[in-house]
């Protein structure tokens, strides 16, 4: 694996090589199945006894009356299938021979089928690169002249079993199979998937709150040589549409930037009109590890648009679960702007997306402002009120004295 396995996640050491990081939080569960404070988690790599090494990671989160399944695979482009069921006993069934065949329909199933309350998928189809030289308008779309994208379907991936299972996480690390220009000679694109048995906040910014219902994805591009001096990278992400419509993309603004300094926005992808599943992320990526304000890059998401299935690299697991009759919608994420810090600084990029999850914005957006408000507003008002009372009191007192 060109030494990348040995390096693992220690990209902090490769200061000379490029890096980019991003995190996403995903959640897949309809109302009624949610709100489990803790879940029984299991991470399992489902082996393919019949053929070559294929990564198929099954995260199963069992609550008292529900089970969430996240199936990640690097078969084809990296993809995740998210399924929420209303029973603690639902199981995943994999038919490898069908899954690896040209017609994989039905190769992946969650049983019993009628317990499924919600299901969707995300496919990370392409790694994009733009030349942002001479682009002064930071809001320009596209953010520069595009280079030919890297298709993630043509990546070769590590064996995730190596990165299991100490911390309920697994890392998919890959590089293009054909790399004539050797841009990935010392680099890799890594997707780190993490699940949580209870709600908490990671130590690294953007520190989005995750719960037992969500899993988190952290994307890091490390050490790949950019094809220009001012290359911007991006990811093309595809998801399943619902009927003719695409899932909706929302920008939430909050007053709280406590966990991601100077980032007041939260981007969300919501599946369905009823709150069902979501992916949410802070629109920020980092060009250094550990991420901090000085290495923060803006992360822009394009609107979702319907995409023709044949124009996207196909994911066998998505087709295996959902069949071939699906509408896809795609959007692009772009990291960085033509000015400011960029991938070129350290050849590092990281992005966090806290996971497949429930659109519980009330829960996920921290409520600390209320605390701050009451903690500080109250004394302020008391001071003011107290001051006025004292003032009036004194006035009365002095008048009384003057009469005497």
């Amino acid at each position: 694996m060109r030494g990348s396995v040995e390096r693992g996640w220690g990209w902090g050491h490769c200061a000379s090589s490029p890096l980019l990081l991003w995190t996403l939080l995903l959640f897949a569960a309809p109302f009624g199945l949610l709100g489990e404070k803790t879940r029984q988690l299991s991470l399992e790599v489902i082996p393919n006894w019949l053929g070559p090494l294929q990564n198929l990671l099954h995260i199963r989160a069992v609550g008292t009356n529900s089970t969430l399944h996240y199936v990640w695979s690097s078969l084809g482009p990296l993809a995740v299938v998210m399924v929420a069921t209303n029973t603690p006993h639902s199981t995943l069934s994999v038919n490898w021979s069908r899954l690896l065949s040209p017609e994989p329909d039905g190769g992946l199933m969650v049983l019993p089928k009628d317990s499924i309350q919600f299901s969707s998928a995300l496919v990370f189809t392409r790694l994009l690169e733009f030349d942002s030289t001479n682009v002064s308008n930071t809001a320009a779309k596209p953010p520069g002249r595009p280079y030919p994208p890297y298709s993630l379907a043509d990546f070769s991936w590590n064996n995730i079993t190596d990165s299991l299972p100490a911390t309920l996480s697994a890392t998919f690390q890959g590089h293009p199979m054909n790399d004539p220009t050797r841009t990935f000679a010392n680099g890799s694109l890594a997707f780190r998937v993490q699940a949580f048995s209870r709600s908490s906040r990671p130590a690294q910014p953007p520190r989005l709150l995750h719960t037992a219902d969500t899993c988190q994805l952290e994307v890091a591009l490390v050490g790949a040589s950019p094809r220009g001096n001012h290359s911007l990278f991006g990811l093309e992400v595809a998801t399943l549409g619902q009927g003719p419509d695409c899932p909706s993309m929302q920008e939430q603004h909050s007053i709280d930037d406590e966990y991601a300094p100077a980032v007041f926005q939260l981007d969300q992808l919501l599946w369905g009109s009823l709150p069902a599943g979501f992916a949410q992320w802070r629109p920020v990526a980092y060009s250094q590890k550990p991420g901090g304000r000085e290495s923060a890059l803006p992360c822009q998401a394009s609107p979702l648009h319907p995409a023709l299935a044949y124009s996207l690299p196909q994911s066998p697991i998505v087709r295996a679960f959902f069949g071939s009759q699906n509408n896809f919608c795609a959007f692009n994420l772009t990291f960085g702007a033509s000015t400011g810090p960029g991938y070129w600084d350290q050849h590092y990029l990281s992005w966090n997306a806290p996971g497949c999850g429930l659109p519980s914005s009330g829960r996920l957006v921290p409520t600390s402002p209320g605390h701050h408000g009451s903690a500080l507003g109250a004394p302020g008002l008391m001071l003011l009120g107290g001051g006025l009372v004292l003032l009036l009191h004194h006035r009365k007192y002095s008048e009384y004295q003057s009469i005497n």
């Binding site: 002064s136 603004h253 007053i255 709280d256 930037d257 406590e258 966990y259 991601a260 300094p261 100077a262 980032v263 007041f264 901090g292 304000r293 000085e294 000015t339 400011g340 810090p341 600390s368 402002p369 701050h372 408000g373 500080l376 507003g377 004394p379 302020g380 001071l383 003011l384 107290g386 001051g387 004292l390 003032l391 004194h394």
Partner: protein
């Protein structure tokens, strides 16, 4: 005192009446513009005085106007960025005591002004060179040198004003000088970002060189100020020759041993001053990014709103000055100003309301506070200690600004703007608490701080009787 009055009379003999007639003076006399005894000439001097401070006020807030650019091009975090403000303040923690002394006893007003202007120029040039050579320590050093000149130059400016305008248009002159300072800050806030982008387009790329050149061009205003200093020195000397006027003196006597005699109300005034200003200036220093990120303002709009405090302060300072003069009741005004600032910070922190509301409120309260707080010092210390008290107040204000600037940068880097705002709110709350305490102490001691203007008149009247 009598001597001084005479001197003033001599200098101001021209008076507006005479000048208004506009008729040429007796044959052989100088044209009005060149005659130090004429109003027209004094207006020329006033113009020079105003521009004397323009450069230093323009350049003081250069870092705030270029916050993102400085941090990006020099690759520094907010904590290090705020050191640029801290270094300015450090030099003034000590220098506040000696500015007056240096002008009176060592250099004289003319040379003092020229020397301080030189410090401002050199400081700005070194600051810019730090950018060109990509050496952040050099930028910090530049700000330190700039600080040595900056604040003392303000003292010199006031001394000139007193020397030329005492007994006439002095308050107006002070007001105009203050307005000019605010205009300098405002122009800076709105000009530097634009200038940077022009230089960037010219050079083809952003980077520390672009930053350095932008700052160097900003330094032209300091040269302008230096030229004003030279011209003023010439005109002042000429006036001395023609009118037999003496060099102006600050008249400040600093005795550090006086500090032990400072009363409790004075200490409370110091606390109010420090806790208040640390929640205003460091906020403005860090404000631009706040407005772009939280409220989605464009860079230009963020600059504009960040400078609105200064914009409001320019015309409102004289108005509030008059208001406080006419009504008295200083403590109540200070209380209003601090409370309004608290409300404004709370709006910025806890709401998504249009920040123009909060910033305008901040601008108004800031102007009101300056007019109501500083004159209170004169009520609580004997006249011979006034210089020491003012010097001390400026000194600890600078100390507070230096320390809080660094802390603010650290908070922002680690906990974000919301926490920073909460911190500022805590500072203002402390200030508010001190105002209430001051009110009570003043009340208990039967002090004169909160007298109305009429009460003050009566007391003055009874004293003269």
């Amino acid at each position: 005192m009598e001597e001084e009055d005479e001197e003033a009379r001599a200098l101001l003999a021209g008076g507006p009446d005479e000048a208004d007639r506009g008729a040429p003076a007796a044959p052989g006399a100088l044209p009005a513009l060149c005659d130090p005894s004429r109003l027209v000439h004094r207006l020329l001097v006033l113009l020079l005085m105003c521009f004397l401070g323009f450069g230093s006020y323009f350049c003081y807030d250069n870092p705030a106007a270029l916050q993102t650019q400085v941090k990006r091009d020099m690759q520094v975090n907010t904590t290090k960025f705020m050191l640029l403000y801290a270094w300015y303040s450090w030099s003034n923690v000590v220098l506040c005591f000696f500015g007056g002394f240096l002008i009176d006893r060592v250099f004289g007003i003319r040379w003092g002004t020229i020397i301080f202007s030189c410090f401002v120029c050199i400081g700005q040039v070194v600051f810019a060179l730090g950018g060109i050579f990509n050496a952040f320590w050099l930028m910090e050093f530049g700000r330190f040198v700039f600080g040595i000149g900056g604040e003392s130059l303000a003292v010199a400016q006031n001394t000139y004003a007193v020397s030329w305008f005492k007994g006439k248009e002095l308050n107006l002159v002070f007001g105009l000088q203050l307005s000019m300072a605010r205009i300098g800050s405002t122009v800076n806030m709105n000009l530097m970002g634009w200038l940077y982008s022009k230089i960037e387009a010219l050079l083809g790329s952003a980077g520390h060189t672009t930053l350095g050149i932008t700052l160097m061009i900003g330094g032209v205003t300091c040269i302008l100020s230096l030229i004003c200093a030279l011209a003023l020195a010439y005109l002042d000397q000429r006036a001395e020759r023609i009118l037999h006027k003496e060099q102006g003196k600050t008249g400040e006597v600093i005795k550090l041993t006086d500090v032990k005699d400072f009363s409790l109300p004075l200490w409370l005034i110091f606390i109010i001053c420090v806790c208040y200003y640390v929640a205003v200036f460091p906020f403005i220093g860090l404000g631009k990014v706040f407005f772009t990120e939280k409220f989605g303002f464009s860079s230009q709009a963020a600059s504009a709103i960040n400078s609105v405090v200064y914009v409001i302060s320019a015309p409102m300072s004289p108005v509030f000055g008059l208001l406080v003069d006419k009504t008295g009741k200083n403590i109540i005004w200070v209380l209003c100003a601090v409370a309004a600032t608290l409300v404004s910070h709370m709006m910025l922190a806890f709401t998504m309301w249009n920040p123009w509301i909060a910033m305008c409120l901040l601008g108004l309260s800031y102007s009101l506070l300056a007019c109501a707080l500083w004159p209170m010092v004169a009520f609580v210390v004997p006249e011979h200690q006034l210089g020491t008290a003012h010097g001390f107040m400026q000194s600890i204000q600078n100390l507070g600004l230096a320390i809080i600037s660094i802390i603010a940068g650290m908070i922002l880097d680690s906990r974000g703007y919301l926490f920073l705002e909460v911190f500022f709110i805590a500072c203002v709350s402390l200030s508010l608490l001190s105002v209430v305490l001051l009110y009570l102490v003043n009340r208990a001691q039967g002090g004169n701080l909160n007298y109305s203007a009429r009460q003050r008149e009566e007391i003055k009247f009874s004293h003269t009787e």
